[in-house]
């Protein structure tokens, strides 16, 4: 078995999970200018809702993914209405606080509904691990990679080709001008939150077989943040590449340097980027207005 490849594949699998969470953060940031500290908790909630449809309600896999996505879409709108909309003119710090409040609420709220024990989530793609160039890759990891790339493809098509996608992109670029085009800006922000939350749900559902379902899932938030900064805050490809960088870096560093400091490597990478290339890989265009 090839150690380097194995580390690489595992790092990539983790990276895709971070990337999915980071993607939601980036989307909300670019359309509403909000740094969402609740995204990790929304990923966790997605996993819980997914496991409910799959094992409690006994729906087939596809159907439970769809149902969870729908439910989470509504959660996203609700989240926006509660934690963002009333505060949209108040400055970013206070919105950060309210999203932190939501995440505190969710992290303990799931205990009330689902109990304290971590829940088992059957892999969506079962079967024995595949041998790939001397490394073993469980089908679920491939599923994560495929679904992330498929989502990215779908998202690109959606944003490029559909009217709704174009409207959402317009709002993300310039809210006032978008309004002048006849776009209902608040509604588009609703949609963006809904979509980001659906992304969170998908991240949760696909990560759950790897992580099991428990509030610990919410801890990927900090890695997702690291991914967004490494990739370039506000950039969609940046979120993906940043996620992969973080995932691969921490896996390799855990093997070659120290496994105890595994969580520190992601942040050291982040700090390195901030010092050397603060705009991240893909670079956010920042212009200070005077």
């Amino acid at each position: 078995m090839n150690t380097i490849l194995q580390l690489l594949f595992s790092g990539i699998a983790m990276g895709f999970v971070y990337a999915l969470c980071a993607l939601g953060i980036v989307l909300i940031y670019s359309s509403a200018g909000v740094v969402n500290f609740a995204q990790g908790s929304l990923v966790m909630l997605g996993a819980y809702i997914g496991v409910t449809f799959l094992t409690k309600a006994g729906l087939p896999v596809i159907l439970s993914v769809i149902c969870s996505a729908i439910v989470m879409g509504f959660v996203g709108v609700l989240f926006e209405r509660i934690a963002y909309y009333p505060l949209r003119d108040q400055g970013s710090t206070i919105v950060i606080i309210s999203t932190i409040g939501v995440s505190v609420f969710l992290n303990d709220g799931v205990y009330v509904l689902w109990g304290r024990a971590p829940l088992f989530f059957p892999p969506l793609l079962g079967g024995p691990p595949l041998e790939l160039l001397g490394a073993r890759v469980p089908p679920q990891n491939i599923a994560i990679a495929v679904i992330t790339l498929a989502l990215l493809l779908f998202q690109t098509m959606f944003f490029k080709r559909t009217w709704l996608g174009r409207k959402m992109r317009a709002v993300a670029q310039d809210q006032d001008t978008a309004a002048l085009m006849g776009i209902k800006v608040p509604k588009m922000i609703d949609f963006t939150f809904a979509y980001s939350t659906i992304l969170a749900a998908i991240a949760g559902i696909f990560a759950a077989p790897l992580f099991f379902v428990s509030p610990a899932i919410a801890q990927i938030l900090s890695k997702a943040f690291a991914s967004t900064v490494v990739g370039g805050f506000g950039s969609i490809p940046g979120a993906i590449i940043g996620g992969l960088c973080v995932g691969v870096t921490e896996t390799f560093a855990a093997y070659y340097l120290s496994s105890a400091y595994r969580d520190a490597w992601a942040f050291l990478l982040l700090i390195l980027f901030l010092l050397v290339r603060p705009q991240g890989i893909f670079g956010e265009i920042v212009a200070e207005k005077v």
Binding site: L87, T93, I97, F105
Partner: protein, 330 residues
Amino acid sequence: MQRTSFRKSIFYLVLIAIAVLIPQIVESRYYMSVLNLASIYLILAAGLNIYLGYTGMMGFTQVAFWGIGSYASALAMINLKMPFWTALPFAALFTGLIGFLLAIPSMRRLKRFYLSVTTIGFVEITRLILENWESLTKGADGLPGIPRPVLWGIKFNTPHKFYYISLFFVIILTAFSYLLKNSRVGLAMQAIREDELAAEVMGVNTFRYKVLAFTLSAVYGGVAGSLYAHFVGYISPNVYVFQEAVTVLCMVLIGGAGYVGGPVIGALLLTIVPEWLRFMHEYKALVYGVAVVLMAVYMPKGILGATEQIRTRIRQRVFGEKNAPVYPGQ
């Protein structure tokens, strides 16, 4: 002017007198220990207030400074055989130094959200170091048997006695916050909070004061850490986690960021109310989360901000004082 400041001094003196008398009135060691913990959180929050409330920067590092201060103080006492009265300043200075070294690159390079994210990383890295540097910190097992402070032969080993030490530092550091806020330096910090560029153009060396604010908050964290270590007598890395950072942040915001009294009210409230809410068991965190969101929506300037606004409105309505200071949000 003169009269109001006299009235204010009387008010503060009465407050301090009550605080000093509390151990005589309150017999329960439980309440006294809660008050001690509240004092420690208060100092943490007061430090964060300098950084967040006065200077307007968002961060979560306070909990890491708390941890560094705890270990610095405990190790100074255990390994270097320092008495408490030198270990505490040592811890404060050491933590301040770490804060200073961290602030120099961060304040030069990082803006806005990047700073918040980096500080999350700093909290995480600090905890990992405390947990894994076993030869120094004894790792995850923690450091037991941290000696209690002794002064003139009195051992401060009960919550009632220790309270006087906590109170001493609470008063000193709150007074310092007050003096700072009303000094040239504090004014410069507040100007940075309001408009960094305008402050810079008015001749305020914004970089310098941001570093100073960060360092001061670290010093407060160091003092709180030292007090915690010697109050509990045992420290372990699992105390200094991100959730605590959020708690301290909420204390500042709920009390009122930027107000000297904000951390006082916030820390007392958020340490004592959860004790009252013990009966709620697992629902407590839910209530907490909801409270934070409601707070953000309805009282973005905290309790003190809200009361000040109400007071102004009453003054305007009742006394028709057109020139009464008007607060934004009306």
